[in-house]
Amino acid sequence: MGQTIIEKIFSHSAGRSVKPGDIVTVKANHVMLDDIMMPFIVSKFREMGFTKVFDPECPVIICDHLVPASQVDDTRAYHISCDFAKEQGITNLHRSDGICHQLMTEAGYVKPGQVVFGTDSHTTTYGCVGAFSTGIGYTEMASILGTGELWVRVPATIRININGKLPDNVMSKDVILKIIGDLTAAGATYKSLEFAGDTIDNMSVASRMTISNMGIEAGAKCALMAPDAKTAEYCGIELDEYQQSLFGDADAEYEQVLNYRAEDFVPSVAVPSNVDHVLPISELGDIAVDEVFLGSCTNGRLEDLHAAAEVMKGKHKADFVKFIVTPASRKIYLEALRDGTLDILSDAGAIITHPGCGLCCGRTGGIMTDGEVVVATNNRNFLGRMGTSKVKIYLASPKSAAASALAGKIVSA
């Protein structure tokens, strides 16, 4: 019988054919450790009685939540990260290069078909290149550092087919918001999401990344896409036989199959304070905005900055609106700098910060207070995530965010 992508990856990793519900122990090809969790990971690692990381090539330590530090204790996590790397001979260390999920694929760590764990829920992102990746807690991370492996339950798969051409003002963010709205926030809990169809095929890896990144918002364990020529080019590899086999078989068993027509998608927002409370922007009415945030591991990539720049070129943000741009990585910053994108955004009044998690992680980068409304391109609009619980967070695409910054109210491009 045929298999879904996740079944193929876990079968390959376990060395035997697996089916949903099976509990298997898999080896991690890479693990991603972010600064904010490092103090806890290291302390659990020692408490468990480990002294040596099983393979110093496996962990990638990324300082992104707390760099540059906004509070006096922030550099503690930074030093623990750097010291642990030094102690263990871990050379995969990024001190200020951007957001972990961007770097894991961009810097060439994750390849199609691999198994990757990270101490951040948006670790699902690497599904965009056909890798299994999922978020775990720091205790499990400590155990993997010691043992190199972790048990997983093979998830059932929800297949999502999207075919056709997306409207011009619609981005992959609108697609995944609509799907999360349909699935609901818990609709894919314990499940693997598998995206396919010519709309996905025609998307850049960056656009796919947005979709995989947000799979967790429907509760999914992972959000996978079959690797193709674009994936190979992005990863700088040629797909081997195993990697080429990573697509959902026609006779694979899916728990659910959803079919979407690309033409039906419209610019959408997730309204406060649930990611699955999704509405077309056209149904919102007039909502004035105080702040716009363009960035994050969901939508801080070059094509996102391009999309915003295209909307804003020669124009200026509305008065008294804060427009904050935080590119996802150092490489993206540099590319956007060199091709003039940052110039356009700066002329439009953007506050451009160094790459990092920025506002999305709620530590700094544009925190708000009671009564403020933000249109943000990131992945969560939870109560209190970007300030007080009376801040209203609307999640939208980069195009919609840019258009809203110009208009001073929520509109689509």
């Binding site: 509990i23 904010i36 969790m37 103090p39 806890f40 659990k44 408490e47 468990m48 009685g49 480990f50 939540h65 707390l66 509070q71 204790d73 922030d74 503690r76 996590a77 990270g118 101490t119 951040d120 829920s121 670790t123 999922t134 978020g135 775990i136 807690g137 720091y138 205790t139 499990e140 400590a142 155990s143 010691g146 043992t147 048990w151 339950r153 926030a185 818990a186 809990t189 314990y190 509760g219 364990k221 649930n274 699955d276 992680c361 709620g362 530590r363 969560r380 939870f382 109560l383 209190g384 995530r385 619980s389």
Partner: protein, 164 residues
């Protein structure tokens, strides 16, 4: 099997990890320092009122959101005996088990119970509320092993010969 009785605090659906513990407190050095801020975006008073032995009852998708393990740790540190919800988010579930915080899935009790009520839990058997029994589905074996060991840290210490 263990039986206990506790007072109930009721929360709704989709109680996310930013509600359980907002990001700004994640960098505190100890879980004890984070404790007062648990559930603060939704109910700032709650952390101060929860007593050891109390039980949290919630709707669907409890613990959705980030992988921050501070979330179950802080709930446990408040002395919460167990969390009963219609369903749990995946990462939170794993993290809770790894830390020895008891989670029970039950789809009917959350709609029946009111805040301040007392319920009795007979672990792996049933919840008793006002004389009515709500059955508890037992956990898979591999999770029971971790719980039996007293959490993942203890299991690893055992593996590394530090504990019996």
């Amino acid at each position: 099997m263990e039986t206990f009785t506790g007072k109930v605090w009721c929360l709704g659906d989709d109680i996310d990890t930013d509600i359980i513990l907002p990001t700004e407190y994640l960098v505190f050095k100890t879980i004890d320092e984070m404790k007062p801020y648990a559930f603060s975006p939704l109910r700032p008073e709650l952390a101060g009122r929860i007593q050891p032995g109390d039980i949290i009852v919630a709707g669907n998708n409890f613990g959705c959101g980030s992988s921050r393990e501070q979330a179950p740790e802080v709930v446990k540190a408040l002395g919460v005996k167990c969390v009963i919800a219609k369903s749990f988010a995946r990462i939170f579930f794993r993290n809770a088990i790894n830390n020895g915080l008891l989670l029970i899935e039950n789809s009917e009790l959350p709609d029946a119970v009111s805040e301040g009520d007392e319920i009795s839990v007979n672990v792996n058997e049933a919840i008793d509320y006002k004389g009515k029994k709500y059955p508890i589905v037992s956990l898979p074996d591999n999770l029971l092993e971790i719980i039996d060991a007293g959490g993942l840290v203890k299991a690893m210490r055992r593996r590394n010969g530090l504990e019996n």
